[in-house]
């Protein structure tokens, strides 16, 4: 058959397919993309719709002026899926989490405006240099480089900023790895399908782009990217990359440089061009040579240089715990005493178990580290750092891999076994930790992505934000959980004694508001409970909690949350009224704080909740765009003066 004839038939068939697509639905989604921001794809839209549908059932005022309220707690037993939010009262959506964790190991999620983009944003690697942490990855709004102000703690959201945003222009750009090279930082990645390096002489504050010529890549024309970089013992930089020649086939290449600016292509012995090969990560071994982990076909290999040629060895030959084609390597790190540590997972047929392998002979032989990464579902280890003498592994877990939900996770080596470290609120939302870097002997910064549906996001299927978690030593600054209610000493102790005057309120509403506020700032949980339960209507204070209001708030205060301070702040904000339904066919007016909860909330209303510290600007933006309303802490008092809810979440 003639090629043109065949091509035209294929094109006609494809156009027929396109004509069967529901283009009206696409247009509707385009038009709903407020201010043109990236709109969640089909799955995320469905999830968001489900959330809003849930919210309409359980929240007064969201999505409609007249909606039903479900006063009792819905069944939220153990669910953490997007469709069934887990314990929304325990942490308001997107809240910067209070430190939690077991004993001295505390994880905190940092949610900064700088991490929120308009598409698939993620951090992939990080480096600690000059007192600051620089993270690199992909950003939909510019170069994927973030940096935290070394004068401020890493867990301070305002300390983080995106840098080098002018390095990519309108082109597609991603940064895959970064290394400290003397006084300089050198990052590698790609821009518009071509390999690039970026250098910084001021600890990552300013960056310069370096164009790199790769003969093989340029001639073949496929997208080419640098994926890993390391510093050799002789002071040379070695960077690794690959050029795509199809969805599953890539041709690898290696480059060397003495200054990060001029690069020379090295020879890579590529044993099977049909299988393709890739580099994943690179590290300097104790003897100064650079090693790289990667793939040839589906087999995990370790690349090493010999006589100027990079050659690979299949790791399945080095240790039987490496599957021949089932090992998924993620990082290569130098550990204590010169050992090399390789992270990843092995697919066991039904699920995926995390693994850490150790080599004490520069990669010649490997042994699997202690057990403990083989729980139900999938585990993936993506990075390591030391906390004192103990090793901490980071990555993600998924109880139900088929639904694509993954959550950040960390494990600590204790008694020759990996034990999960309690992430608390920090690991509640779907996300993936991709790397971690120690910042001193007992603290670290982990980077990755959040949002979407976890590791589905790795496939680029859903919107994600860049994400940072901090790990620190020391007990959480929790309050004494055994404190006697009303005895003084709670998060609201230093709050203003009276809220802002709101003379427009009906008398009974005003009285209840002032009484609740007073009890909160006096830390009088018993009085608060009495006020909450005094009315004829059920009081809603959490979803899925079994304890009474006083115990609930006391427990949260003990965990380091600040429900009483939040309560006092909420009541100090402007209010609105909504119509809601406590009984069938009977709507009642409820006065609700803050006014951002109302359907017709203005920008000023949203600014007020941000200024009060109830949500960050980024969280507010996300609530508006993804959920259509404020979902943070709020208080409701009926017109006849009954306090009916103090909740957060959806």
């Amino acid at each position: 058959m003639n090629l043109d004839e065949r091509a035209r038939r294929a094109a006609a068939s494809t156009r027929e397919q396109a004509e069967r697509v529901d283009t009206d639905a696409i247009l509707a989604r385009v038009q709903r993309s407020r201010r043109g921001r990236w709109l969640a794809p089909v799955g995320a839209v469905a999830a968001a719709a489900a959330l809003v549908a849930t919210a309409v059932l359980i929240l007064p005022g969201l999505g409609s002026d007249r909606v039903e309220i479900m006063p009792g707690p819905p069944d939220a037993a153990g669910s953490s899926s997007a469709e069934e939010p887990a314990d929304p009262d325990a942490s308001s959506p997107g809240e910067t989490d209070s430190p939690t964790g077991s004993g001295a190991h505390v994880w905190q999620r940092v949610e900064a405006d700088a991490f929120v983009g308009s598409g698939e944003d993620q951090m992939r690697r990080a480096v600690h240099a000059g007192g600051t942490v620089v993270a690199v990855g992909a950003s939909s709004d510019g170069a994927g480089i973030w940096r935290h102000d070394p004068q401020r703690p890493a867990q301070d959201p305002s300390a983080w900023q995106q840098v080098g945003t002018d390095l990519c222009g309108e082109a597609s750009c991603e940064v895959n790895d970064v290394v400290l090279f003397g006084e300089q930082l050198v990052a590698v990645g790609s821009l518009d399908g071509l390999p690039k390096a970026w250098t910084s002489d001021d600890d990552g504050e300013n960056w310069q782009r370096v164009d790199i010529e790769v003969g093989q890549g340029q001639q073949a024309g496929g997208p080419t990217a640098l994926t890993a970089i390391a510093v050799r013992g002789d002071g040379q930089l070695v960077a690794f990359g690959s050029q795509q020649a199809g969805e599953a086939v890539a041709a690898p290449f290696a480059l060397t440089s003495t200054d990060g600016r001029a690069w020379t292509e090295a020879t890579v012995d590529f044993e099977d061009e049909e299988a393709g090969a890739e580099f994943i990560d690179a590290e300097t071994a104790a003897d100064g040579q650079v090693l790289a982990v990667g793939y040839i076909g589906d087999g995990t290999v370790l690349w090493a240089e010999s006589d100027g040629v990079w050659a690979a060895r299949h790791l399945s030959e080095a240790d039987p715990t490496f599957g021949v084609v089932t090992t998924f390597a993620t990082s290569l790190t130098q550990g204590a005493d010169g050992e090399l540590l390789l992270t990843g997972s092995v697919h066991g047929g039904q699920d995926q178990d995390g693994h850490v392998w150790r080599s004490t002979d520069d990669g010649a032989t490997w042994q699997a580290r202690p057990e403990g990464l083989d729980g139900t579902g999938d585990q993936q280890v993506t990075g390591l750092f030391h906390d004192g003498d103990a090793l901490v592994a980071v990555g993600w877990t998924s109880d139900d891999p088929q639904d694509g939900e993954a959550f950040p996770a960390a494990w600590r080596q204790e008694d020759d076994r990996w034990q999960p470290t309690e992430g608390g609120h920090a690991f509640e939302e779907p996300g993936v930790i991709r790397a971690a870097v120690a910042v001193d002997g007992h603290s670290a910064v982990a980077v990755g992505s959040a949002g979407g549906s976890g590791y589905e996001a790795d496939r680029g299927d859903e919107r994600t934000d860049a994400a940072v978690w901090t790990y620190g030593a020391g007990a959480p600054p929790a309050q004494d959980p055994t404190a006697v209610p009303g005895s003084g000493g709670c998060s609201a102790s230093d709050a203003a004694s009276e809220p802002a005057a709101q003379p427009e309120l009906p008398e009974r509403v005003s009285e209840m508001r002032l009484a609740v506020h007073e009890a909160a700032v006096q830390c009088d949980l018993e009085e608060l409970a009495e006020l909450a339960l005094a009315g004829s209507r059920d009081f809603t204070y959490s979803f899925g909690e079994g304890d009474d209001p006083a115990s609930h708030w006391q427990r949260r205060e003990g965990e380091g949350d600040e429900p009483l301070l939040t309560l006092s702040r909420v009541l100090d904000l402007p209010h609105a009224t909504i119509e809601t339904q406590f009984e069938a066919d009977r709507y009642e007016t409820v006065h609700v704080w803050p006014s951002a909860f109302a359907d017709d909330a203005t920008d000023a209303d949203w600014d007020a909740v941000v200024d009060a510290g109830l949500v960050t600007a980024a969280e507010a933006q996300r609530m508006r765009e993804e959920f259509g309303g404020y979902l943070g802490h709020r208080v409701g008092i009926t017109s006849d003066g009954e306090w009916v809810f103090f909740v957060a979440g959806d």
């Binding site: 283009t23 696409i26 990236w38 496929g222 890739e278 991709r434 680029g460």
Partner: protein, 173 residues
């Protein structure tokens, strides 16, 4: 109700209706995945919608749209990263393929096209599916017309070889 559904200010809806099938077909051909194609088309149009006041003034808004769509497709692929591609391979070992419908006679052709170097694949898809003249293909690809012709010529030769099809001269002129 927003502007385009009330009075179609600036003709965005008209633009959408004119281009959506072309860009969808182009993305289906180049990505091989209808769902991904829908997602990318949506994003391309969302950007057009956001910047419509500027886009409408371009010489070829449709060409601009195809270029954005193509960049998004490439961006998506690159963002997967080496790690994620490895994960895909691994996950693919147990993943049940979603319903892709009956085997279509065009699939083999586009599978071969997707094996071509990116620029050649882009040129072929624009030529046959989007039905763009070479001059516009060059504008979309951001290259000279002669370069676009070279990409198309090489692509057709390689495809003819792989598909064991005969080749007329002039198909890429």
């Amino acid at each position: 109700m927003d502007r385009s559904t009330t009075d179609d200010a600036g003709g965005f809806r008209l633009f959408y209706e004119r281009e959506i099938t072309h860009v969808l077909a182009y993305l289906i051909a180049t990505t091989g995945d209808r769902w991904v194609a829908e997602e990318l088309a949506q994003e391309a149009f969302a950007r057009a919608y956001r910047d419509w006041d500027d886009v409408r003034s371009y010489d070829s808004p449709g060409g601009w749209l195809h270029r954005v769509a193509h960049n998004l497709a490439m961006s998506r692929f690159r963002r997967l990263g080496a790690e994620a591609r490895a994960m895909l391979r691994l996950r693919g070992m147990r993943r049940t393929p979603t319903d892709v419908g009956p085997v279509r006679h065009d699939e083999e052709f586009w599978a071969e096209v997707r094996e071509l170097p990116d620029r050649q694949a882009q040129a072929v898809a624009l030529h046959y599916v989007a039905d763009r003249p070479v001059a516009e293909i060059a504008r979309i690809m951001g290259c000279a017309e002669s370069t676009a012709k070279v990409h198309l010529h090489r692509a057709r030769r390689r495809l003819a070889d792989r598909l064991q099809a005969s080749l007329d001269d002039g198909g890429d002129r």
